[in-house]
Symmetry: D2
Subunit: 138 residues, 4 copies
């Protein structure tokens, strides 16, 4: 069973800047993946995991192996967004997340949803490696 | 039935530069979506469609509504990649593509596969609009 | 003479994410320009200026005409940075800024310094336009 | 005196894609730095230098220490650009370049000019290192 701390919902705020938009006047489709990752990185930090330390000390990093994303409504310049992270499943060497991006308004308009799978890899040769047993221990 | 010209497979070469990599030493996961789009844009250009003209003259643009991408092996700095585009289905106001990215080596190692759906939108209000009837006519 | 409100120093915090790094393990040189702009955009917001409203209502936007940037030390993954904005000079249709990026540590290690000039343009034809007279009025 | 092979002017073509533009409908200011680097990387490749090999075999990489760029006219979606590279000066551990970006049209409209300094660094600790003596030898 998944640890309640890991299963707890998490959200991270992101502001849309010039750099994120394209000539359509909205956020470029690849850039939502950056927002999704910022939220996952902040989720890890929130749980006490430093990805820098993981790389420097254990030679491990996370790489994304699959993304299934649906774009429902466009995010616009200067919008404030709320990016959610829900860990759906932990396996020996990977984690699956369900994520969403909403506009930070009263009705929290849903802009996109995504399922993301991240694998733990050895940086040296980019081969799968088991998640460190004490990764999420306080 | 789909026009043979539209159904013909298409491929576009992309070089991996510094800007595309991340600290893992490989291409950052969101940047593959840029490569996929460059190839779709070149496919349109190859078919005689100028997206600039479409926007300026008809007020239309394409926006991505869904991406399902699997990352199989990492692309590395200085790799030359071959990005394929196959139009799978045309609907009234959208198109679906099956795409892949291979390393441009003798064995053409498969790095990622993706299904991408693009909707035709009116730029003014980002509402769905029918694909122009003569879009792909020579 | 410049309004004290405009001349007051301003700073904005930025976290370094995966998306910002390159294979050297540090922030890619073009991405510092994104950080500089986030801070300028937040400075405008802090002064009550909405760039979205400026574009929608007055048809005006800011475009950068010159950047002189020196990279002194690399920013690293997961660093928290402090990006400063100091308005150096306001002209009829442009503003010049002096900016810096420091690591948010006790000694505030200086990572880069930059002078940036932004011109006010009419979005329609990208021609210079005078700064709106009441732009910064409360 | 500088080797004629190194001093010879070099140019590289770049296409403007969706990813490069911002809501102003033109190329985002930081992205010109990506174009400048693609051209420098192709200049190195043209001279027989593989940056991947340099990193893997000698543990060396190039990092930018200064950029002075003037944006004269905007590059637009679907433009084809010509990015020039002229090596201005080689020092023990750095190189300075003069670069420009022009639109690839009959009159070759000048869009931006830049001076860029790149230092050779040891990847391990990001400290300056002398350029390898045989770097540019055929």
């Amino acid at each position: 069973m998944m640890d309640a701390r890991l299963a707890a919902p998490f959200a991270w705020r992101v502001r849309v800047y010039y750099e994120d938009t394209d000539l359509g006047g909205v956020v470029y489709y690849a850039n939502y993946l950056k927002y999704l990752e910022r939220a996952r990185s902040e989720w890890l930090r929130h749980l006490g995991v430093s990805q820098s330390a993981l790389l420097a000390e254990a030679g491990l990093l996370f790489a994304i192996t699959a993304v299934n994303i649906r774009y429902l409504r466009p995010a616009r310049f200067e919008d404030e967004l709320v990016v959610s992270v829900a860990l759906e499943r932990m396996r020996r060497a990977s984690m699956s997340f369900s994520q969403s991006i909403r506009r930070d308004t009263a009705d929290g308009e849903l802009l996109c949803t995504a399922e993301v799978t991240a694998a733990c890899l050895r940086a040296q040769d980019m081969r799968p490696a088991p998640l460190p047993p004490h990764l999420f221990q306080e």
